[in-house]
Symmetry: C2
């Protein structure tokens, strides 16, 4: 098996190294990852600048990788359409993101978008995230990724479906099980802070705290809150089929 | 009526001015747009840099706008959560993009993502694109936007639904009608061109030509190809509900 790894925290982030350590026990790995942190880059691609690509070893000569001056989606595109055209991977794993990707937040996520890009290219794809913004051991999440990869290759997911996995920040033996979930709703309060620079110009910082939205018990948000590993099957057909018929009567 | 306009081609692009000229006849307009072109930025947001905001008049003092040093989604967020908290718009229109946003390509689109961000905030939202990368008159598309806005405010779309509109590059009287469509599939060939810089470093340009995928007659791609204005209702719930039950038997 040949696994393509990428992420949005950048090639030197601990999450991708943890994935390499665990998944290299069951597969040949190619890492193609951004040269620096690209959080919240969604499915952005680089069309107006060149995309530099070189090789880079992560900590040890054992983990040599393609380093890409672009977004996570750029990494997947350049991997599948340029670097690996004669050595196509069997599966793509994106992450492990340092911080959860839950509910509507996945729309902004570079980690999830890289997996979507893999699925667009017909690959089984998994996005992995750890529910902690603090330093934390990524190995329990990496082991979970291995379990899911091993299961996924024996199952036939529908085309254009990927898995979004969020792992609670707990030791492995503390996980309260695994839940197959739907996406919840995540909203924020006090998102913008207004400031003035020394030249008198106004700027804003985007920040804000998660505000507790009401979420069903079968959502990813509630699963992770309760210490469970959340796996959400994701599609990316944005057509709202249910409303087409009604709209045809609009007489525009 | 109070309409929020934004785009991804930047505040000085002709598409947003055409929208202002047409929609200011039926509503009060606030423009909050990126300071420069932000094509293909998807739903990226700016979390690691400050977001500068100032005012800027487009061509004439009549069209004064908020100019934002960020992505299209940043524009919508800063508009709704900071600049216009006491003057909430009734509807958001994003565009008119210089170039179509059809099929799977909308996943990369800053224009469509800005409309999604509006819908996430509970606003009726429309993304407008003109199917031409060459200079072309935006006014037929702007008039179409006005028609759709006028219709939309009389109809009740389900929450979390927006409209993705693509207008063929034709004179108004040459339109072959309006079609309510589903998203098609758009793929590209020869996407990456490999080059070497004067220092010997390798870089790639992302480009490529649209390759003719097979698309159903009721897709946006075929509608526009046949000279019709395409309107696709869009949602953004990425849960693949159909597969949850099957996955619950996976025994992970």
């Amino acid at each position: 098996m040949h696994i393509l790894l990428t992420n949005d925290d950048g090639i030197n982030a601990p999450g991708i190294k943890a994935l390499w350590l665990e998944l290299s026990q069951i597969a040949r790995i190619t890492v193609v990852a951004p040269d620096s942190e690209k959080s919240a880059s969604s499915q952005a691609i680089t069309v107006h600048h060149p995309i530099w690509v070189d090789t880079h070893c992560i900590d040890t000569p054992a983990i040599c990788a393609w380093r890409v001056g672009g977004t996570p989606t750029d990494c997947v595109k350049v991997a599948l359409e340029a670097l690996l055209t004669d050595d196509r991977p069997d599966i793509i794993v994106s992450g492990i993101n340092h911080g959860s990707n839950l509910g509507t937040d996945i729309l902004y996520s570079g980690t999830v978008s890289a997996a979507i890009e893999g699925a667009l290219h017909g690959l089984p794809a998994i996005a992995m995230s750890l529910d902690s913004w603090q330093p934390f051991d990524f190995m329990p999440a990496a082991k979970m990724a291995r379990k899911i990869v091993e299961k996924m290759v024996t199952k036939c997911l529908p085309p254009n479906t990927l898995l979004n996995v969020n792992v609670p920040a707990l030791k492995e033996e503390q996980f309260k099980g695994i839940a197959v979930t739907k996406l919840g709703v995540r909203s924020y309060e006090n998102t913008f802070e207004r400031r003035q620079d020394p030249r008198g110009r106004i700027y804003y910082w985007m920040s804000g705290k998660v505000s507790e939205s009401e979420n069903d018990p079968d959502t990813d948000i509630i699963a992770v809150k309760n210490g469970r590993v959340s796996i959400t099957p994701i599609h990316f057909d944005l057509t709202n089929y249910g409303i087409i018929k009604a709209m045809e009567t609009w007489e525009l």
